[in-house]
Subunit: 343 residues, 2 copies
């Protein structure tokens, strides 16, 4: 049977996601916060981090690996510094609450940061940097993750493919938003090459002995390589320090695998920094500068006219507009699964 | 005549650097601040960003491209947010003052940031992240730079090889410090390949049409490639936004070239974020966690035992200890030049 996609409006998908989360035991308020983050991912076209995650999130809550009733505790340790304990709550709920508290503190001091522990996979960083940008805040949002990357020169995984997001608001157009992890490619890309019987570039991964390989099978048994070798490794490490160690969360190999140990709290950490751009200058000034910035880039002569220069987040913002108008494509099998879980 | 290096103690090199800067017109206090940053670079073994820069800095001040008597103005626009105007002062002096003000504000609010405009090349980021770490502050320090990198898919330079530094203090050992720019390699590496008549990997640079090349000659006429293609490009862009645009400094192609237009102010921008780790937990907690972090990495089985896993900043911290004991190696030609300039 063909797995044809249906298109749901944002509101319809949001309502469905809220029902699924409530069925898992979340309060109405927490379900709304978590659903907002996931549906934003779908609007941005990042379907791997959207409602597609609900079945696995639900399963983790069912087995006790994530607590649907967790109380998120926020400690204002200093005027611009928050320590947040998610108490093993659902990642998007914990992080959404941390972002809200961080924005409130930043309105007071101009800039604030939240160090979050006791959390879980929180969706894509762009959901958070986008929400911050809509309120005029520049932000840096990062998390650590399951241990899958070997240090440069190593032949054992020690750190996660830690996502890093940076967003800059634009009163006169789309915000500019970067959402990236340090690996050269996502694991899914290597699986596709294996399925097609194709070799991969030797910059993508190593075998399990830590040696670069062109074999997708050896790569899937080995480790993803970070961008720029030791540079990407270094950057992923600093993200783990900011999000994990400084948050008093798990870091490096202390992060347990939610595949291997699904009922053990992962204790992931996040770092959220919010900067009130209204304290740096007027909206007119910022809008003009941002439009000028984008204009300079878009006017760059292209090496191949069929592939013009892009601005970070451009594809995602275009998907957002398209999906907002046409609805979000969900496969019928996923839709069926979600409707089941919503009961 | 052989250009043999001499070794100078830190104090002797510092005294010489201060004299050179004073001869260019800096006040005693400003000369001390600038010299501290440069000599730290030399201690860390980053000689390209240390006193080796004094002749070119001196020349720029002589032609009026940099103002040795600039007053650095600091505006506390919000309790945790500083806007700094370097008024075209010497980069290390402007940034050192901005760092000091940022640390003071962070002691009040737990975390603070300085957005700096009207500045110049400020040395390596590690000088600043190290100073912050010595006082128990984690930090992010970044700058924009002369326009040399083409956007992914473009065939004209639009952004700089913007340096990004992140430092985490360690009460029980060496801080962990990342200091990197987004290019895969530094230009100097390509020049060396050209000098040896060797080809280069196609991941290092493009020709002037924006096409990846293995010819070092074509590469020197073209553009350095960023790490991870569009990822490194995106990261360099976000650094330009944080350091240049949000600081109301120059950004992208508004940054003039100090080679092509030496008497025109570059109006570089910096971003300095300082986080008081003492507000996140005790020194005992942080020291234990950092030593554990380093231990996990250093214990990683190596793909090649001759090349063990390194921690960011490890090489620089080892150089620091060595150079502090043995003195800093300076070529006799550079020493002669500095003695000349000091008169």
């Amino acid at each position: 049977m063909a797995d044809l996609p249906e298109r749901l409006s944002r509101d319809a998908l949001l309502a469905l996601a809220i029902k699924v989360l409530q069925s898992s035991g979340l309060s109405r308020e927490d379900a709304e916060e978590g659903a907002e983050i996931l549906v934003l991912a779908d609007l941005f076209g990042i379907s791997t981090h959207g409602v597609d995650r609900l079945p696995s999130y639900t399963e983790r809550m069912r087995t006790g690996g994530v607590d649907p009733r967790a109380t998120v505790v926020i400690d204002h340790t200093a005027r611009a510094l928050l320590r947040v304990d998610g108490n093993n709550g659902l990642g998007p709920v914990v992080a959404r609450k941390a972002l809200k508290a961080c924005l409130a503190a930043a309105r007071d001091t101009g800039l604030a940061a939240a160090f979050v522990r006791g959390s879980n996979h929180f969706g894509p960083t762009i959901s958070y940097t986008y929400l911050a940008a809509q309120q005029g805040f520049a932000s840096i949002v990062a998390s650590n993750a399951t241990t899958t990357i070997a240090p440069t020169g190593g032949r054992a995984a020690r750190l996660g493919n830690n996502p890093l997001g940076i967003g800059i608001p634009n009163p006169a157009g789309d915000p500019i938003i970067l959402d990236m992890a340090m690996s050269v490619v996502a694991r899914a890309k290597i699986r596709r090459a294996a399925a097609r019987g194709e070799n991969i570039p030797s910059t993508w991964a190593t075998d399990k002995e830590g040696r670069p390989t062109e074999s997708p099978e050896a790569a899937l048994d080995g480790f993803l390589l970070p961008i720029g070798g030791y540079k990407g490794y270094g950057l992923a490490l600093m993200v783990d320090l900011l999000t994990g160690l400084l948050s008093d969360a798990a870091y490096l190999t202390h992060v347990s695998s939610w595949v291997d140990s699904p009922d053990e709290p992962q204790n992931l950490g996040h770092f959220i920094l919010c900067i009130d751009t209204k304290r740096l200058g007027s909206r007119a000034w910022l809008g003009a500068a941002m439009q000028d910035f984008v204009g300079i880039l878009k006017d760059t002569p292209a090496a191949d006219p069929a592939h013009p220069v892009l601005v970070p987040g451009e594809n995602e913002m275009n998907a957002f507009k398209r999906n907002s108008e046409e609805g979000i494509a969900i496969s019928s099998s996923l839709l069926e699964k979600l409707n089941e879980l919503a009961r």
